[in-house]
Amino acid sequence: MIRDITIGQYYQTKSVIHRLDPRVKLLGTLLFIIALFTYNNPVGYIIGIIFLCTVIKLSHVPFKFITKGLKGIILILCFTVLINLFLTPGTPIIAFWKITITYEGLAVAFSMILRLTMLIMGSSIVTLTTTPNNLTDGLEKGMGFMKIFRVPVGDVAMMMSIALRFIPILLEETDRIMKAQLARGADFESGNIVKKAKALVPVLVPLFVSAFRRAGDLAMAMEARCYRGGDGRTKMKPLVYKKRDAIAYIILFTFVIVSIWLGRWSVITDFFRSIYMNLFGCPL
């Protein structure tokens, strides 16, 4: 049961998206998310959906894998929708008892659903098409500028990749400890939530102890292999931009600029109208 947990799951297949430099994908996700939250008309969303679908198609990842990530946020999604639906002031559509649903609320709720779904799908694409190692490499290189603020980027990236490496080992260990405790008559299934949580204590304590022991061993093994922090290290697989990454950047920036432009069209036209008003003293 505990093995069902998938963190940063990677879907192995061959595609353009898989081969892209992780830095492109990371920056792409960031820009995509920013763009999403600037749209205020349907045109922006339509362009966003087209872009997202094209990327999904190119990645050769089955659609159901991408929607899997949505299951986790259904609760948050419902909550935001309800809050927005009932608490946005404006022109009422239906009103009964103390609850009023407004046109504005409906619009906000609908755009919230779109934004969050697209956000999750967009970021799942990155983890599904990038190996964890590649991802940390990308973060390390992409965050390289933080070094001037004395942030030990290399060390942090190393910690992340070790953490990822030990997830399956620790899950296996948890399974083993749980079985050992079950064999001694531990009961993890029955009782209310407090009782269940309490039942986990005899699992967590040995798990932590062994995790610390492992960490000590690993640190010693790393030192024995001359690990001395991120400085002065060379890379076996250094990240190098290829031609396709340049093309991807161009497509990405074009998408972001065009979609924000069109997605906020009314704002922009309003802006120019107001300038016109100020200049000539009459409406356009």
Partner: protein, 285 residues
């Protein structure tokens, strides 16, 4: 005469337990005036029961622990010399007991590349080193596998390759087979012997399995922090009663030969392998 890769001179190490004020309460002498020297290209076995100090000794060779008294010289460098710390560690490669706790990479080849990366080896050379190291331990075909999918013996061979890729002067293996099943043990021991025979690598194998060091050039037996016996495998295994007194198991053929001899059959001392035993018994007829 080839030079000493490792030389310890009256090495003493004490674990000191302190109370809250920092006053020593309990002193355990883990190493007691140990003198061990290893020459280039040698295969040295260090045997000992649990708590004999053999692992503590191993950690001194890699400057993980520092001597309380005496000196440890590795490849001409004193391990207490702070400036030489990383040189010591790169010339004395270390393989530990638990394979899961020493594999850092998520792919076999990336783990083997970890050591050279730390040493600042150029990318192109890392690749050639990774390839040659994996080939030396017979793991080349697994280079793209995830370490968690490998058996214990395979994982240990990857660990050995990871150390080899640093181009050390000698390899110290601290009970590399203690957590493996018999077939995994065989696999690892074969890989270690191959390194010594083919690559002429200096090997220091620390273990409590006698049969793993039958082919060693020299053996040191440790007990309670002291070196109690030293010599060639033949010399060491001739003295079955002494080994028994140290609670060490003698390899099967040696033991049978010894028992037979006690019963009056004229066999020579220090029979190490089955073939040898068979040959000697044939001679007796």
């Amino acid at each position: 005469m080839s030079m000493d890769i490792v030389k310890t001179d009256n090495l003493v190490f004490e674990y000191i337990r302190r109370d809250d004020e920092g006053n020593p309460v309990d002193v355990t002498t883990a190493l007691d005036h140990v003198n061990i020297d290893v020459k280039q290209g040698e295969f040295v076995g260090i045997l000992g029961h649990n708590g004999s100090g053999k692992s503590t000794f191993a950690k001194h060779l890699n400057a993980i622990l520092y001597p309380t008294d005496g000196t440890v010289i590795v490849n001409g460098m004193n391990t207490t010399d702070d400036d030489k710390l990383w040189d010591v560690r790169s010339s004395a490669g270390m393989v530990f007991q638990n394979p899961d706790n020493q594999i850092i990479g998520q792919v076999v080849e990336e783990d083997v590349g970890f050591g050279p990366e730390n040493l600042g080896v150029p990318t192109k050379e890392i690749w050639s080193r990774v390839e040659e190291s994996l080939r030396a331990v017979g793991m080349l075909e697994y280079r793209l596998k995830s370490p968690s999918r490998l058996s214990g013996g395979q994982k240990q061979r990857v660990s050995i390759a990871g150390v080899l890729a640093m181009h050390p002067k000698c390899i110290i293996l601290d009970e590399p087979t203690a957590m493996l099943d018999p077939s995994g043990r065989k696999e690892v021991v074969r890989a270690i012997r191959g390194l010594n025979d083919v690559e002429k690598m200096t090997v220091i194998l620390i273990t409590h399995y006698m049969d793993e060091v039958v082919h060693a050039d020299r053996i040191f037996v440790m007990d309670k922090g002291k070196v109690v016996m030293q010599g060639t495998p033949k010399e060491i295994f001739s003295d079955v009663p002494a080994l028994k007194a140290l609670r060490l198991d003698v390899p099967g053929p040696t033991r049978i030969a010894w028992e037979l001899k006690q019963k009056g059959i004229p066999l020579p001392d220090g029979i190490l392998t089955c073939e040898e035993l068979v040959r000697e018994i044939e001679k007796c007829r």
